[in-house]
Amino acid sequence: MTKPVILDCRNVWKLYGPQADIFLKTNSDPSSADLTAANLIGAVRAVNVQIQQSEIFVIMGLSGSGKSTLVRCLSRLVESTAGEIRFEGKDLLSASDEELIQIRRKKMGMVFQQFALLPHLTVLENAAFPLDVQGIDKKTREARALEVVELVGLKGREGYFPRELSGGQQQRVGIARSLAAEPEIWFLDEPFSALDPLIRREMQDEFLRLQNILHKTIVFITHDFDEAIRLADRIAVMKDGIIEQVATPEELVLQPATDYVAEFTRHVSRAKVIRAASVMEPMNGDSFAGEVAHDAVIEAIADHVEASDLPHRVMEGEKPVGQISRRAVIDVLVGRR
């Protein structure tokens, strides 16, 4: 059940350094050593990603891995050195300045790590800013801004200035602003990295709640693997400008494509990732203690499965597809698989 691809990015390169474009024309696939020899820095190298409608696509990597540059290539805040990016079927890289302005006004929203709020505007005015830029009249844009401010839970604080808000609240304003123009695709560049761990968790929940309402197509950047597996439908792991693997959180843990990914996933709490369907066994009886969904993560079902002597039935919709026993759950919990 593949969904339509909204943002299609093929063989995208971003090199920093002297005459990067000429270099890339003569060397179609340079190695790290080639780049160093030519005094170039490969921020994004030969990246292929297809972002599907309404999915949360997380780009995960440590600092310097090129993830922020990649998301800026996707929104054309940074011009790619080479490659092809198609947004809703149209070539984004050849869009004129005017077309780009229109695309950004109507179809793209972005949230920034340091919030990037305008210090001289109130919460409401900040949220209304993208509409103000489009020339929408004050009444209409403030009505719409009020909607998004309420949506992110800041009702009653419309008249505050950013400096009067906590970090979490400021980022809520950032989110409200990015949603004001009802974008098709939503870029979030490490939106919660600047927040305290507790607030971060709260904001992640908030984010999932919003996505349940909005069903946006999302590109989410993070350096925090736990955050990635909590939020992602699919994760792209990036290192030195190269995408090492694109997969669901579960696949990353169970079938890491490279040593780097394996190293990353080794210490992940597997119960949070592995789903019932991956560890179930064929049904061999008809007495069950209860039912669990096939895509439930083990962490969520561990408690009752472990508490009963009988296995639980694993259901895909109305259809039973297997059974899961105490033993299988404990295997996952203690890391035997």
């Binding site: 302005i101 990037a116 709020l117 210090p119 800013f129 993208p130 830029v133």
Partner: protein, 661 residues
């Protein structure tokens, strides 16, 4: 062995100094021995006729230059008219009132703003900018002007400030924006800004005088030219330091270029831009007295006139008037810089704008009341207090009782410090001077800076200004030396003891608010004219940066390093000498650099008290309206400033490299 000696710094500097000293001491004997007069004097026939060329060019510009449709003269007249019109309106509002008709038939239509209305307005501005405290402060400052009989002059000065500041701010902002957008323009304008900040004002007074004639317009033009460069610089920096993410947020919102500039960049940069506005205001006030040399009236003219009459009391009184106004405008504009947007108030029109309402009411009320009660309109003369005689008497008393003490101090310093140094510098043969400067600059900053230094010194020599330039260097050197010797310990003290720091840094803030001219008044009164008086005035004026940068540098030392020092068992003294001071050296160099720049700018003004240096040359040019002479001498001062600036920056950069900062 020899190679190591050559590389060693000590040897280089010792040899350089020794050779210079020998040549300086025996230059006269050398000239006699070889019968070569060129050794001590730059040959007349090698001099470049730059002065005449520049003067001729200006004459041509004024007399003959034409751009097909209009002549250059029309252009300057148009500019003059553009400035004159709003200036005249402001004068009418603040001083003269509006009238129709001319001469005896003139009928007054509306009077000027009453003194009460002006004070209430400025208090409203103070309260709007910060709080009641500031409001009262600026109110008291302006009340001072009324009570001490400076009102009319002060309003003339205020009118020119109110014209010069907006032009300077908006012009600077636009140039800065253009430089931010177009890299080629930034590259073009940077050296011009460098030069503008180092060329003494006197140098461009003459061309302005020739182009615009004597009067308030010429004074305003000069003021704007003097006050605008920092605004351009600060605008460029302010726009460049807007966080990258904010710019990206603007782009993602779909801003066009213009929306980006005016809705995102400029508003985000406002706190920094306000620092620039404050600078423009302070520089404008600094120019008040100098501008009165080419026709600005007001407080500046009063000071200048008193100084020329040697009327101590009058000079101090008008000088204090400028100081008071500077303090009021400085504090108010600084408050604006710190002020962040506030929430609008609720209620009806008057409740939402309490201050604008009050101001309008007071203006209206005094307008009507002033027709019947003159004291409301103009502050009654009978109630003014003059402190003039008090200051005169005080000076007289000091001079009578302490004359011998002052004289003794003066003589000792002249005898043992000023004269020997002067002899050393003026004795250096010009050819060796060029080589030595080049060598110094090369040693510190590489061959490019060395070559630049030598070339600029050659320019000074070929303009025939070598002897005067040496006097400038000697006076500047001695003053900077003393200012540093006083300033750095004060800065250390300020950094080490928070209580002393508040007092010292507060004092330095105030010293920096004073227009440079003001320093001359008491100094001349106490020590009369001459090099010594000039030196004292320069030290006072240039002290502040030495103190500030030292204090700042010490405070900036990373706390982790201080903790490391404490845990190694350092005493306070060891902590200061071994950790804080070495790490603060780059900052100390920057302070030294600023001190030298301020000293040079002050030195030109001290020409008024009879130094025989480049400043005097510029001043003479001004009185003779000789544009060429003024510009060449002014450029010479600027070149000395540029050479020292490059050398010291190279020193600071070297030090930073060594410390790995």
């Amino acid at each position: 062995m020899t190679a190591r000696l050559l590389r060693s710094g000590t040897l280089f500097w010792t040899v350089l100094f020794a050779v210079t000293w020998v040549l300086s001491s025996y230059s006269f004997q050398l000239y006699k021995a070889f019968d070569a007069r060129w050794i001590v004097r730059f040959p007349k026939k090698w001099q470049l006729p730059l002065e005449d060329r520049i003067s001729d060019f200006l004459d041509w510009l004024v007399e003959d230059a034409s751009f097909h449709f209009f002549s250059f003269r029309d252009l300057t007249r148009a500019i003059a008219a553009l400035i004159e019109a709003p200036y005249q309106v402001l004068r009418n509002v603040l001083i003269e009132g509006f009238s129709s008709g001319y001469g005896d038939t003139a009928v007054q239509i509306a009077p000027s703003l009453s003194w009460l209305a002006v004070i209430v307005t400025i208090m409203a501005v103070g309260h709007y900018a910060r709080d009641w405290f500031l409001s009262v402060l600026v109110g008291v400052c302006f009340l001072y002007l009324a009570v001490f009989g400076q009102w009319e002059s002060a309003m003339i000065t205020l009118a020119s400030v109110l014209i010069a500041v907006p032009i300077g701010v908006i012009g600077g902002l636009l140039l800065g924006i253009f430089a931010y957008r177009a890299r080629w323009f930034e590259r073009l304008i940077q050296p011009v800004l460098d030069l503008m900040q180092t060329v003494p004002v006197f140098a461009y007074l003459v061309p302005i005088l020739i182009l615009f004639g004597f009067g308030p317009v010429a004074a305003l033009v000069a003021t704007v030219i003097y006050a605008m460069p920092p605004m351009v610089r600060i605008t460029i920096v302010a726009l460049k330091t807007v966080p990258k993410e904010i710019v990206e947020a603007g782009m993602m919102a779909g801003c066009r270029k213009r929306q980006m500039m005016w809705k995102v960049l400029v508003p985000s940069a406002i706190p920094t831009l306000m620092v620039g506005v404050n600078q423009v205001i302070m520089l404008t006030l600094n120019m008040v007295i100098i501008a009165s040399m080419i026709g600005a009236g007001g407080l500046g003219f009063d000071v200048l006139a008193s100084l020329r009459r040697l009327d101590i009391g009058g000079g101090i009184e008008a000088g204090l008037g400028i100081v008071v106004m500077a303090i009021a405008l400085d504090r108010a504009s600084q408050a604006f810089a710190d002020r962040s947007a506030r929430h609008p108030l609720d209620g009806n029109l008057l409740q939402r704008h309490p201050w604008s309402g009050t101001v309008v009411l007071v203006i209206g009320a005094t307008l009507i009341l002033g027709q019947f009660v003159p004291a409301v309109q103009t502050y009654p003369d009978a109630l003014t207090i003059t402190t003039g005689p008090f200051w005169s008497d005080a000076m007289k008393w000091i001079n009578v009782n302490f004359f011998d003490t002052f004289e003794a101090i003066k003589t000792v310093i002249l005898q043992w410090l000023l004269l020997p140094v002067k002899k050393f510098f003026t004795g250096i043969p010009w050819a060796w001077g060029i080589i030595a400067t080049g060598l110094m600059a090369w040693r510190v900053g590489g061959w490019k800076i060395g070559l630049l230094a030598a070339l600029l010194m050659t320019f000074i020599a070929t303009s025939g200004l070598w002897p005067k330039a040496m006097v400038t260097i000697y006076l500047c050197g001695v003053s900077v030396l003393i200012a540093t010797l006083i300033g750095i310990p004060l800065g250390i003290w300020a950094a080490e003891s928070p209580r002393a720091g508040r007092v010292i840094l507060g004092l330095m803030d105030t010293l920096q608010t004073l227009p440079s001219f003001v320093y001359l008044i008491p100094v001349v009164m106490l020590f009369r004219v001459g090099d010594f008086s000039a030196m004292i005035a320069v030290i006072l004026y240039a002290l502040a940066p030495a103190v500030r940068y030292a204090a700042h540098g010490l405070k900036e030392v990373p706390p982790a390093l201080i903790e490391a020092g404490l845990m190694s068992g350092c005493t306070r003294r060891q902590l200061l000498m071994r950790i804080k001071l070495p790490l603060a050296t780059p900052q100390l160099y920057l302070g030294l650099n600023q001190t030298i720049m301020l000293a040079l700018s002050m030195l030109v003004i001290t020409a008024l008290v009879g130094t025989r240096d480049l400043g005097q040359e510029v001043y003479i040019a001004l009185t003779k309206a000789n544009a060429g002479q003024g510009i060449v001498a002014g450029l010479s001062v600027a070149f000395i400033a540029i050479i020292t600036d490059r050398i010291i920056n190279a020193l600071a950069a070297g030090q930073r490299d060594r410390l790995g900062i």
